[in-house]
Structure formats: structure tokens, C-alpha cells
Subunit: 336 residues, 2 copies
Amino acid sequence: MPETITIAVDALGGDFGPSVVLPGVEAALAEQPDICVLLCGPEDVVVPFAQCHERCEAVPCTQEIEMGEHPANAVRRKKDSSIVVGCRLVKEGKAQGFFSAGSTGACLAAGTLVAGRIKGVSRPALGTVLPSPVKPVVMCDVGANADCKPEYLLQFAKMATIYTRQILGVENPSVGLLNIGSEETKGSQFAQETHRLLAEQLPNFKGNCEGCDVLTGEFDIVVTDGFTGNVCLKTIEGTAKMLFGELKGVFKRNALTGLAALAVKGGLSQLKQSVSADTYGGAPLLGVKGACLVGHGSSNETAIKNGVLMAAKIVRTGVSELIAESIGSEAKKPAE
Amino acid sequence: MPETITIAVDALGGDFGPSVVLPGVEAALAEQPDICVLLCGPEDVVVPFAQCHERCEAVPCTQEIEMGEHPANAVRRKKDSSIVVGCRLVKEGKAQGFFSAGSTGACLAAGTLVAGRIKGVSRPALGTVLPSPVKPVVMCDVGANADCKPEYLLQFAKMATIYTRQILGVENPSVGLLNIGSEETKGSQFAQETHRLLAEQLPNFKGNCEGCDVLTGEFDIVVTDGFTGNVCLKTIEGTAKMLFGELKGVFKRNALTGLAALAVKGGLSQLKQSVSADTYGGAPLLGVKGACLVGHGSSNETAIKNGVLMAAKIVRTGVSELIAESIGSEAKKPAE
């Protein structure tokens, strides 16, 4: 294990760009003295910051991938963008991880095309720790692969198992398949085939998980295709946002409810924090070389700090190496 | 239009059976004097009730479809079950609508196999009015068809448009396609093909709707396959349940937060009510003859009452006839 951990960070990522990324990086460097950051972005942003911060090196880039661009095309065309340069640093072994709060699609494309897939992995997948106050639940895939085969979901489950064990410390995490009924005969043909495959080949598979059970903590991991997973994740976020908004209205009715708001302010803000995506600092791109992590577009300073620290933790706990061992050893097996 | 509206009601439906169905029916009969109920269920339940209630006729049945049974098999085998008998009354023209809070799968199967599909409808679909406090949003399909073709979703959108216009009074409801990005090139192959078809053939189609936008009211109707729709609906319910549960914890911390709870009790219970599935009394089975409506398993007395009244409203506003006209006229068109 290396003495220091080097993370390439995209200075441009997210809705707020360098204005939150730079303080987030500063906080991460201050919190963990074994972290070094390679800060990728425009020269006038990254050089002055690196000059005043130890363990931070500027990697000036001349291009930027915007949120609306076609991910794969942008990654192929903009070879000097902060996202492509960051992933190239991982490929070249100059960084062990990469963090960006920029375009998820571009990070996925650059992670796969530039940093590169781990041998044997069919499709890298986007995992996430769901913001549940009950207990953290890992969902995978939440958007990398809209069209999936059952075999992909078996690999997603294996990769998420390693992630959950190493990062959340759950020794033998249970896996549920996101489906529309608890019986094995329920769901689409794809869900039924996937159920059969997981039941046969995944020792920690515990059956179907319905939408209403995702946040109950019944399963440590919920595995699904990237289409359904993304809809589910964004529905959770949308429902929570809507309810907190309505709750505000309830407290604003009159002087008495306004006083009530003061009494529960602390508790409410803790609750809001516990369901916030910022707590876990990003979604890991599982199956890609190095520790590639994508932050939420709306990341604040804390989310950026947590993202950088999480990338370092993924490196420290050897997630990618364990995935390579687990999936790579299968790839070597002769076909039956 | 008939002078009275006759609704067949399953006395056995739901988690609480006759103990909530009977008072629910009583309340519906009391509220609207133009409704008649054909109450289907065990003789000892339905006969005594019908004897003491005007405009209610007992239809004794000897069988019951349990929640766990295979829907289509149960419907074929249990010809004297309350669900099959209720749908048969619709087919025979003795009732204009059917309401049950029993097994959704069995109601779907009986609606399709017994009451029968409207001519030209490829697949009947389950619609629902989503419990959003912002404004009601109709989602379709929420579970009838786990595997879909783009053409089905075009029909779901047309049927939901008629339902939304007649029941919610929205003259020209906007339709969104549940997808994982706002651009038309986003999503699975299925979602992209469906987007193209809807853009070509549905005048009120307004583009993709992400999971986080389902409850914002940006779209009056969200159309999707039954797998994704069911996951989305149950995720909304699960997230709301989890947050209200956590909120309880926030108010129970100490004496002060307990007092705060008293101040906002009314507002909170209104909010809870506004996101409750009980308000709209059930999910319509669109594309089936008559007004077939399936209530939530956890329906209380109010939900049953609202379900019976909603079935009557569907009859009164001619939803099925308008669907037959709209879809039937297409079916007659020569193939291009």
C-alpha cells in the first residue's frame, strides 16, 4: 500500500464549479494528511490554488466538458478537458483515484474509455449509497447502463458486495433485486431471468426488493438495471424534496407554528442531512480501474470534501483490486 | 345516461375486508343517492347488509381469491369468487362499474378476461392518481404490463388523457414519458423508441419526465411501462412513509418538541392526507369495459367510499365510451 494516496480532482465539476470545489479540496487536504490532490482545470484556477496548498499539484487543462454535451463524443473530442485528463492520470498510474462533480455521463465515458475497464467486467456500473436515515443502502446500477442483460446485474451485485463490505463495513451484505412483487415469478421477463441467475450464482442474494422496501434497510444492496435504478434514485430525491418543501409551508402558517419550527429546527436539519446525497460524497464507478467517483451536480463544499475523502477510502480499502480479483478470476475460468 | 349508476363491489377486498368495505359502501350510498351497489361476497356478510340498506343488493359468492394466488389461474378456477362475479356483472351489463380493494393482479386478470377489453386496446393498463400535494398527476401504467412495446405506451397515454380530462377536469393534459434524462436521445432503447413514437403521434406529448420531476406537476400525465411505473409509485410511497416515520422521531425528542408537534398537528395530518393514496380511492383499469377500479390493499373506510364514488364518476363521465371511440376508431383504420 502506498504511503500517500493521490486523487485527481476535476476543478470544474458541478453546478458551482471552482467556488465549491476549491474549498472542498482544501477541507479534504486539511482533514487527511496522507492525501495528495492533482487539481485538473483552467490554469488561472488551479495554479494559484496549488501554490498556496501543500500536497496539491496543478494540472492545467485547456478544455471543459459541459453538462449538455454527448458524453462519449465529448470525451473523444476534448482530450484536454479536466475529466479526460483526470482519468488519464489514473490510467498512467499518476493518480489512484479521480473525483468529479461534473457530467455523470462524461465521467462514465471517460472512466470506461480512458481509465479503462477492469479485466473481465462486462459493463462498469454506477453505484450509490442511498440517503436513508435507517441505514445506508447501496444501489447499483443507478444510471450507467440503461439496457442490461441478467449477467451484467450478477456482476453489479458482486462489485457492490465488495464496495459495501470495504466501504460500509458490512461483512456479508444482503442483495435484493429491484422488482415489482416479492415472489420470484413476478416482474418483467428480464427481472425473472435475473432472479433465476442471482438465485443460482450469488450466495448473498435474498430475493426481490419492491420500490417501497428500498429504504427500509431490509437489503444492504439493491441491484437493478441503470434505467430503473436511476428512476428509483431520482424518485426518492424528488419525493423528499417535495415533502420538505411542503413541510416548510406547514411551519409557516402562523406565529405558533413558527415557534414550533424553532423547537424542531435542529432535528429537522439533521433529518434533511441524513437523506441528503451529500453525506456520502459521490457515486462510485464500479468496474473501472482506479477509484473513480462522480459527485452530485448540486454538490456543496462538504459534498466535494466527502467525495475526495471517499475516493481515497476506496483506494485505501482496495475496492478495485478486490473487484479485479473476484471478476478477473471468473474471466479466466474456461467456459462450461 | 342512466338514471342510477350500478357498481358491483367486492365485499372481501383489502387488508381489512368487510370491516372497512361495509361502512365504506354505506357512506358512499349515503353521499350519492343515484348510486346502487351490488355487493359481492359471502352470503352471511352481504345478505344482512343488503337487508338494512336501500339501493344495495346482495350477490352471494362461495369463493374468495387470496392475495398470494396466481392471478390468471385463480380467475380461471374460481368462477364464483367475488372478483370474478363482480366483473361478470359488468360484462352482463348488470353493473356499469366494479370496485375491489383485493388482489390487484386478480382484478387485472378478471377485468381483462371476464369484463373484457375494449375493442382496439392492445393491453389494458393500470392508471393511478399520484398523491402529490402540488397537483394531482396521473401515472399509467403502474403495474399491469411489466413488458411493453412502444405502441402500448401510446395507447396508455391516450387512455390516460381521456381519464385526466374527464375525472380531473384538465382540458388538455400534458404527457411526459418517464425516462432518465431530459433529452430525447436519453434512456434505454425502449424509451428512445417510445419517445419517437409519442413525439410523432401524440399532440399533447411534452417530452421526458425524470424521476425527480414526477411530483412537481410539470406534467399532468406520466406514461411508462408497468415495471418502471410500479417501482416509481412504490418508491414514492416508501420514501413518504420513511420520512413521516423519521419526523415522528424528531417530534418525540423532548417536551419542547412534543409541544411543537401539537402546534403543527393539523397541518401535518393534512400533508399526510394529501400524499395518501386513499384520497382518490383507487387505480382505474384503463381499456377494460365498464369502470373497473382497484383500491389499495390498505384501504380504510374513506378509501372504500372514495373508490365506489370514483367508479360511479368514471361511469358518469363516460370514460370507457370515450376510450372505445378514440381507440376503436383507430382500430378500424386500414393498416398503412
